[in-house]
Amino acid sequence: MNSRNPAISKGIDWSLVWMYIILCLVGIMSIFGATYQETEGVSGFQNVVQGFLSLKTDYSRQSLYFLIGAMLGTFILLTDSKFFTATANLWYVFGLLLLLLVFPFHTEIKGTKSIIRFGSFQLQPAELCKVFVNLALAKYLSRVDTDFTKSRSHMIAMGIALLPALITLQQDETGLALVYFSFFIVMFREGLPAIYLILGFSLAVLVVATLLVDPNTLAIILTLIAAVTIYFMRRQIRRRRSVLFTIVGLWVVCVGIQRFAVPYVFDNLFEPYQVKRIYAAIGKDYVPKNEAALLESERKVSTAKKDDGDYNVKQSKIAIGSGGFIGKGLLKGTQTRYDFVPEQRTDFIFCTIGEGFGFLGSIIFLGVYLVLLLRIVSIAERQRSVFSRSYAYGVASVFFFHIAINICMTIGLAPVIGIPLPFISYGGTSLITFTILLFILIRLDADRQMVLR
């Protein structure tokens, strides 16, 4: 970051660096706004300074993480970009090892089993692993002998992306596991046939429809669609019988998913609280089918009422909604300052911005994010090497997924899955992970004239 040293600064995209700094500062300010406590008898200024120097408050720690992140970023900028291509697979293996180490060495904190502790330092490998997956995927896609038109390559690429997701799922971190699905955007850019996305999207629509619409009505609708399709395609069917079988087969699969697969997954595979959150996001009340599930969910509700996703979303919507057009101002928000929104320094940090700075502030804030994302995409497109381009798309996808899901969750558009807001949410691992992700991209971009393999 030293602009007087031409060796480092050459080719560096300063717009990304500035956006990074702005977002981190906004993050520290938001955490300050959410957690600052007045102390009796101490003047406001003195208190704030003490708070920042003490390293006991959340905002002072976040500042420290920011400094550490900045240092790491500088190191990355000093590294040769070939290092990343060369060691990508090694890092991936290292990441998997870390993920597996969690099982014997985790400490259970707030219901998650994904954190390793060394003394006062905590590490969440599931978070860090995104960097490694991104590197490994880019590496695989950029290999000379990878022919990404073959479905075998598709499977391998998906495997690389989803293997850590599977492990993460075992650690009760659904949100972090879902993040790995964002790498489909990378694969899509590199030529993954659209049919995968269409199928995935159709499946999602079908699942949501199953939850929303009465089973019998949905079955009739599906049958009608199949019948209409057959009617319009009768010519083709007369020519080729297999079209009919395809349609009938699709119909069977759809009805099967709707009648049996979704109820089975929801009743037996998901935890009741997860089901509840999904239902809450689509605006329905969840009534467990069997008695055991009912009892279980009731126990969960009574013991941990504040963890109830429904409550979180309601309070978060109140906080954001009460910000109005121009907001209440930093530290003036009654909802975020007096703990009405749970987890407001981590997953629900956007409430502080929404309440404090209103619609205007939120739009400006989102604007920074959007500019960042579009900038990364355009940087990706100017890369000569597939490795750099895939990596850049990976960064954009991961950021996009985090931002979209996190903010949609706070404004009631997505189920409550706990994933942090990049650069804003409190938490050392996530801040450092995002920093590494971004600075490797900046480093690769600086060498965009080179062809990396």
Partner: protein
């Protein structure tokens, strides 16, 4: 390199942008379009703390506070802060056991959660408060909170002052939700009637509360707060010493006393027996005391001065005379040849206490001797007046008089729930007698009987009309409101002079008033005499029935006494009713007399103080009360036992001989003949000529 997927970059960009558009739309919806979240956030975090001003104080006519404010203390607890408690010591101080302590703590947690303050014990008695004040620093999590309560420094005037209590849903609705749950309002007496004056104006302090409902500070440094305005004081006509005397005299008696200032309609004293100490309904024991009183069949909570209905009996006679005089039917020299019975309707009823001729030779004698025939006849002449063409119109005319005098309709006293008494409408008689009735049917109305019922307040007010020679002001307690403004319309109706009699000469008034003075000087009310004061009075004795154990039983007569004094420029008018006390002269007259002396002379002579003690010591509570109380209690216990299957309380009523005996012989009323007195005759009073 491969550029064949270049278009996909555009798709990805579009996906990114569309997602942000969706988020923006939802944010616009939440933050700009939908206003409800601001409201919800306010409800979440703002707590409008109501600041209650001190209620107005009520003073008596000499400026002594008779209803004041004081502070009692509640012991509060925040369960989460209770630590290392010396439970034993604490319980000893509060005089409870540890099980009770635990129970109360659990209740507090269930009610207000662990982190919010709850009341541990409310309205601490002063002794306990002193003990806690000294030692409370030892007990973390407990603190004292002051609570303003009403106090009655003279322990008197319970029925007048009323009490404050929590609002109920009906009051909330009537106030258009100005009040809120938990507010205290006047629930009876002056506290209720002058609620709007006494309450002042509430203030609001906006406090911020956190997610656990704890108050954490002022909102915007109190920018939106409004200050509380103290309630205004009331200055009344009450003479608290006369009031206290009246209450002492009415000890263990059922009935009521009302003393008015005739010139203004101001109420000097008003007492209903049986009585209670108003402070019983404010302190720590208030719930217990209230329950006891509510269940008492003698009705200590009932204000008989405005709700007790009694036949006025002979006390009505001066009014009958005034009606006839105003109509010009008689003049003061009119006499009736009564020989002991009234034969005007052929059946010789009613009887008269006197039978010697000449005891009703003129108006003054007729009042002095309380001649029944005379007033029965006056009543008949009034309603059979040929100018009305028919008894029904005539009766209506008579009834209008009564109503104008304040009988048979609410006077409009400044107390809630006044009763209106009973002067029957023609429709009532039409119904009872199927239209076939005449002046002989209800002739005893002329002597204050038949269906006539009046409250002691109405009787005292009627005395004011006589004393004032034709007018009265609506009786009321409050002389003025402090800092009264034009908007205080509540007082206006008490400042209207009601001129009800306009066609009576002073001479005629003098013969009525003179007759009433004769009653005291030589007649039935000699017990009321006070040296140096000319008192005018009328005794009344009314028969009195009650259904007891399914039988209609005639009880001992009610003792009625009405009077005013002094004769010239009267300053006090009193009505006394003592139930089942016999003749008006035996108990009612001395009570009124003592009150007059106290009020007019400002003190009582030494021998009169003994008289006070004698009357106060007399227990005239009707004997049937005990049995009625037993019946009520045992019925309730049986009902309770049936409801709860718990008969521990009921058992004591099942024991043989636990019930008080029924009076085998119904209480025999004193017969009139035994009390017949020598009539006051003309020659005796001729020494005092009737003059203006």
């Amino acid at each position: 390199m491969s550029v064949f997927n270049q278009s996909r970059s555009t798709i990805i960009r579009l996906i990114f942008i569309s997602m942000f558009v969706v988020i923006t739309l939802q944010l616009f919806n939440l933050q700009v379009l939908s206003g409800k979240y601001q409201q919800l956030a306010r409800e979440n975090a703002l707590f409008p703390k109501r600041i209650y001003p001190s209620r107005g104080i009520i003073y008596d006519r000499k400026g002594k506070p008779i209803l004041d404010n004081t502070v009692l203390y509640d012991l509060m607890v925040i369960p989460s802060e209770v630590r290392n408690l010396d439970t034993m010591g604490f319980c000893q101080m509060l005089e409870i056991d540890t099980a009770e302590f635990r129970q109360r703590l659990i209740t507090a947690i269930l009610k207000n959660t662990r982190v919010r303050p709850s009341i541990f014990e409310d309205l601490l008695p002063p002794v306990m408060h002193a003990r806690l004040e000294e030692n409370l620093w030892k007990y973390k999590g407990f603190y004292l909170q002051d609570r303003p309560v009403r106090t009655y420094p003279f322990n008197a005037a319970a029925h007048i002052m009323g009490y404050v209590g929590e609002v109920d849903s009906a009051i909330l609705r009537r106030s258009n939700y100005y009040y809120q749950l938990g507010d205290y309002v006047g629930r009876s007496g002056l506290e209720q009637y002058y609620e709007s004056v006494l309450m002042g104006r509430r203030g609001v302090q906006y406090m911020i509360r956190d997610n656990k409902n704890r108050l954490v500070g002022r909102y915007e440094n109190g920018k939106f707060d409004t200050a509380a305005i103290a309630g205004r004081n009331l200055r009344t006509y009450i003479d608290i010493e006369v009031q206290q005397l009246a209450e002492k005299l009415m000890t263990n008696k059922v009935g009521a006393v009302v003393a008015l200032d005739p010139k203004t309609g101001g109420i000097i004293a008003m007492c209903s027996g049986p009585n209670f100490n108003p402070n019983d309904l404010t302190g720590p024991e208030k719930q217990k005391n209230y329950q006891r009183m509510v269940l008492d069949v003698s009705g200590p909570l009932l204000n008989r001065a405005i709700k007790g209905l009694y036949p006025p009996g002979s006390a009505f006679k001066p009014l009958g005379a005034l009606m006839a005089l105003n109509d010009g039917i008689i003049d003061p020299s009119y006499g009736y040849p009564c020989t002991g019975r009234y034969y005007g309707c052929g059946h010789g009823k009613p009887a008269c206490t006197h039978n010697n001729p000449g005891h009703a030779a003129n108006l003054r004698l007729s009042i002095a001797n309380s001649c029944n025939s005379y007033y029965t006849h006056l009543f008949r002449m009034t309603i059979d007046n040929p100018q009305f063409r028919g008894v029904k119109k005539g009766y209506q005319h008579w009834r209008d008089y009564a109503n104008n005098f304040g009988l048979g309709n609410r006077l409009g006293v400044d107390l809630p729930s006044e009763d209106k008494g009973n002067i029957p409408d023609t429709a009532v008689y039409n119904r009872v007698y199927r239209g076939a009735w005449n002046s002989c049917t209800n002739l005893t109305l002329g002597i204050g009987q038949d269906m006539m019922l009046a409250t002691p307040m109405q009787l005292a007010n009627a005395m004011c009309i006589v004393a004032n020679k034709g007018y009265f002001y609506t009786p009321h307690f409050v002389q003025k409101i402090d800092a009264e403004t034009k908007d205080d319309t509540v007082m206006n109706k008490f400042r209207i002079k009601h001129e009800v009699l306009t066609r009576i000469s002073d001479e005629a008034y003098e013969s009525v008033i003179g007759g009433m003075q004769d009653v005291v000087d030589r007649g039935t009310a000699m017990a009321a005499r006070i040296p140096g004061i000319e008192i005018c009075a009328k005794t009344g004795t009314a028969e009195n029935f009650r259904i007891l154990d399914g039988r209609r039983v005639q009880l001992k007569d009610n003792s009625v006494f009405v009077c005013f004094a002094p004769r010239e420029n009267p300053r006090i008018a009193i009505a006394v009713v003592v139930e089942n006390a016999g003749f008006g002269s035996t108990w009612a007259a001395p009570i009124a007399s003592l009150m007059m002396e106290k009020y007019l002379n400002d003190t009582l002579r030494a021998e009169r103080k003994k008289e006070v003690d004698r009357i106060a010591a007399a227990n005239l509570m009707p004997s049937w009360l005990e049995r009625e109380q037993y019946k009520a209690d045992s019925t309730r216990a049986a009902y309770w036992a049936k409801l709860t299957k718990d008969s521990t309380n009921y058992k004591k009523y099942l024991r043989k001989g636990s019930a008080p005996k029924k009076d085998s012989v119904p209480p025999k009323p004193d017969t009139r003949s035994t009390h017949t007195r020598e009539a006051i005759l003309e020659k005796k009073i001729s020494t005092k000529p009737v003059t203006a």
